[in-house]
Amino acid sequence: MKILYFAWVREKTGISKEDITLPDDVGTALDLIGWLSQRGGGYADAFSNVDSVRVAINQEYANHDRPVTDTDEIAFFPPVTGG
């Protein structure tokens, strides 16, 4: 699974993208956030307020309870501020 981080989520995790093998017990985007947070450090910080983190699955906005699979591209980022 490819994971991308943007803006302050990227700054806190300290990484803009990574490839992981999806653990068996991770079913949803929220599960993935929990699993990433367990790594501690910047990850725990980035996801400490889960409501302020938006999720995209395969480049489409997705709710936190959406299922994720090992072939997905997942992105985590703050609310957008373009325009």
Binding site: L4, F6, A7, W8, R10, A56, Q59, E60, Y61, A75, F77, P78, P79, V80, T81, G82, G83
Partner: protein, 148 residues
């Protein structure tokens, strides 16, 4: 037509390109968003725009398609820059052309509201108070909610 680019754009040239040869057009509305030298209580010397390559293009195409579904437009242009910008620089351009002025105005306003809340861009401001990620405004959510 949508473009996501590092380079600046020429507003007059984009308007001319959109209308060229179409005498069914009655009005052309454009909006340019620019970098301000102040943000809340801090000065801004640099604004860096980060975006999600791939998703940005998809989101912009969807937003443009939605506008063309809601209004009868002769054409529309959306250009959004990324990278390092400075006060006075262009950030975003929306141009809409239609037989009727109200459609051109509304579609242009709609596109800007949606860009603010749907397009995956993030603004990092630097100035006298150090770097600061611009926070999403609830007023932008409210503006977008008008169109539901």
């Amino acid at each position: 037509m949508i473009k996501v680019q590092l380079e600046d754009f020429d507003i007059g040239a984009e308007i001319e390109a959109l209308r060229a040869g179409d005498t069914g057009i009655g009005g052309i509305c454009s909006f340019v968003g620019t970098v301000r030298d102040m943000s809340e209580d801090a000065t801004v010397s640099t604004m860096t725009l980060e975006h999600y390559t791939g998703m940005t293009e998809k989101a912009l195409a969807e937003i443009e398609a939605e506008a063309n579904e809601r209004w009868t437009l002769s054409g529309s242009t959306v250009i959004h820059r990324y990278g390092e910008l400075h006060p006075g620089d262009n950030i975003v351009l929306v141009v809409t052309a239609s037989a009727h002025r109200q459609a051109a105005f509304e579609a242009c306003s709609f596109l800007m509201d949606w860009l603010k809340t749907k397009a995956p861009f993030w603004k990092l401001e630097s100035g006298d108070k150090g770097p600061n990620w611009v926070e999403a405004k609830s007023s932008d959510d409210d503006a977008t909610a008008r169109w539901r």
